[in-house]
């Protein structure tokens, strides 16, 4: 583990973790309140500790949600008025006048806190689950974006460039959690064929990549009063998640889901149970309320074998061309020799 303070989890923080784990023996209460992750180069990951998050019960809006709104909403341009009606669906998604909505994902609400009512040790508990983009390791939303408007940064953040996105929502369709949300009436599609191609810009958490580049942590992580969210070098965050899960005899989500992600949730309750107890019970990904889908597979993996065959195709063609070409040349030579012998 790196001992360089600027690029890793701080030593003091780690000491606190270790001490907490040793001394605490039993669980959640003994876990450290803060594990500082200072920014931040190389591959990153985030940790969301559901044993610490209480959804900011005393506040009108969870701090992660309000801080995200504050940091990001001013960056969304004002939609044109009137917003062009897309042919032939005529479906316009305009959240610009509902920016305060906080109980679901919207372009103006890129993180929200989901609730699940579960029983832990015979006690009824409400678990708060901050939900946002998982920043998958091999995100279909980014790699098959037709305009490469959605890309994965070297640091692991999956980022939509609002200047290139046409708002076709393919990223939402291929995301197992349907995270990206569309704002119509903004973006490059207005300058191309606004009624016929595209319908706005897709928005989702970008891990505050602009802040990361400035050496700051994402707004939600900075704002969390319970320090339930951490960011740091990927291997250290992964190790920390394992430690915490072990200490609470709990579970990790995000490590294998969709082929692995840069977001690890740690919970004392299994994610299958959380999934069943989500509130509202009718959580609807189409309405910005993603399911958890523990163990969801990376769908694109089904075509990886074929993709490897594509990469092998030039070599196969080249070898076949050489074999065929030389065979034809020797055939021609033999024919020529036959003619001369006649």
């Amino acid at each position: 583990m790196s001992t360089e303070k600027p690029s890793g989890i701080s030593r003091r923080g780690l000491f606190k973790v270790s001490a907490g784990l040793l001394a605490g023996a039993t669980g959640i209460a003994a876990l450290p309140k803060q594990l500082l992750a200072a920014p931040i180069e190389g591959k990153l990951a985030t940790l969301i500790d559901l044993s610490l998050c209480d959804g900011c019960s005393g506040r009108p809006m969870p701090a992660c949600v309000s801080s995200c709104k504050q940091a990001k909403n001013p960056t969304i341009p004002q939609p044109v008025d009137p917003i062009p009606s897309p042919f032939p669906t005529n479906i316009i998604e305009d959240w610009s006048k509902k920016q305060q909505v906080a109980d679901r994902l919207t372009p103006y609400n890129r993180i929200f806190v989901q609730k699940a009512n579960v029983t832990v040790n015979g006690e009824q508990k409400s678990i708060s689950i901050p939900r946002r983009c998982m920043h998958c390791d091999n995100p279909a939303c980014a790699v098959i974006c037709p305009f490469s408007a959605n890309t994965k940064d070297k640091n692991g953040a999956v980022v939509i460039d609002q200047n290139l996105c046409f708002g076709g929502a393919k990223c939402k369709t291929v995301c197992p959690w349907q995270i990206p949300q569309r704002q119509s009436g903004v973006g490059i599609y207005l300058k191309v064929a606004k009624e016929f191609m595209g319908n706005g810009v897709m928005y989702k958490c970008d891990l505050c990549i602009d802040r990361l580049k400035e050496g700051k942590v994402p707004a939600c992580i900075e704002a969390c009063p319970k320090k339930a969210m951490l960011i740091g070098p990927r291997d250290q965050i992964y190790a920390e998640a394992e430690k915490r899960a072990q200490a609470m005899n709990g579970h990790i989500f995000g490590k294998k889901e969709n082929g692995g992600t840069a977001t690890l949730y740690v919970s004392p309750v299994s994610f299958k149970e959380l999934e069943q107890q989500l509130t509202p019970a009718s959580a609807d990904p189409k309405k910005g309320q993603p399911l958890l889908k523990p163990d969801v597979k990376r769908k694109m993996a089904e075509s990886d074998g074929m993709a490897k065959a594509v990469l092998a195709a030039p070599a196969i063609g080249l070898v076949a061309g050489l074999v065929g070409g030389f065979a034809k040349l020797s055939q021609r030579k033999a024919e020529q020799a036959g003619k001369e012998n006649r």
Partner: protein, 220 residues
């Protein structure tokens, strides 16, 4: 009735190259178009038999499958004909002005000049198709590599590959339409038989490609 005399125009291997690239190219065009989020929006998914057009992972698999054939045959084509030093499709000087003269004859019904194996505009069309094909192959391979091994590929390289692929698609689509449109011109139609069966009638060859026949005779 006497049997029609035929002249061999294409080897089997050339026909396999042509039709392999043609069929995989059409599949690539379709599956590529369906990688745009257009099928559901424009209700193509509702057309009987086209349910798959809105399934991005399925059309991606189809795109890969067709790419294996397409890319493999393109490389085969380059290496095979380079080795055999077959240059009949490579444009020659004066092809542009010759092509214009030939195109005029289609309108004026004046007699065409005598041709070799290929018309000058066919040689130009070959280059017009080859350029987008090479753009698509190179950028497609980069994109496939990214999908498999480098989702965090350098953004500049990725944007170049993406836009070369997208522009290559438009050029290839136009070239494909032009290629099909050439069959609307009546004197060209016997060449379709040549590409389907490998042979054309001697009468057609004598009438339109006397320089090619002479070349064949000289080789004997």
């Amino acid at each position: 009735m006497s049997a029609e005399k035929l002249v061999k125009r294409h080897e089997l291997i050339v026909m396999i190259e042509h039709w392999g690239i043609a069929i995989s190219g059409i599949v690539l065009l379709m599956s590529g178009i369906f990688q745009l989020p257009s099928a559901a929006r424009y209700k193509i998914t509702a057309i009987p038999g086209f349910w798959w057009s809105g399934e991005f992972f399925f059309t991606l698999k189809l795109h890969y499958l067709a790419s294996v054939v397409f890319v493999g045959l393109v490389l085969f084509h380059l290496v095979y004909h380079l080795l055999l030093q077959e240059r009949a499709m490579i444009p020659q000087s004066g092809d542009v002005s010759e092509s214009i003269k030939v195109l005029k004859t289609f309108i004026t019904n004046e007699p065409e000049p005598p041709f070799g194996k290929y018309l000058p505009e066919q040689r130009l069309a070959y280059v017009a198709i080859a350029i987008p094909v090479l753009m698509l192959v190179v950028s497609g391979l980069i994109k496939t590599w990214k999908n498999l091994y480098a989702p965090d590929m350098d953004r500049i390289l990725l944007l170049w590959a993406t836009w070369i692929h997208n522009v290559g698609f438009i050029l290839f689509f136009m070239a494909f339409l032009g290629h099909i449109a050439a069959l609307l011109i009546k004197p060209n139609r016997p060449m379709l038989r040549g590409m389907l069966t490998g042979k054309v009638s001697r009468e057609y060859a004598e009438h339109r490609h006397p320089l090619w026949l002479k070349e064949l005779e000289d080789r004997k």
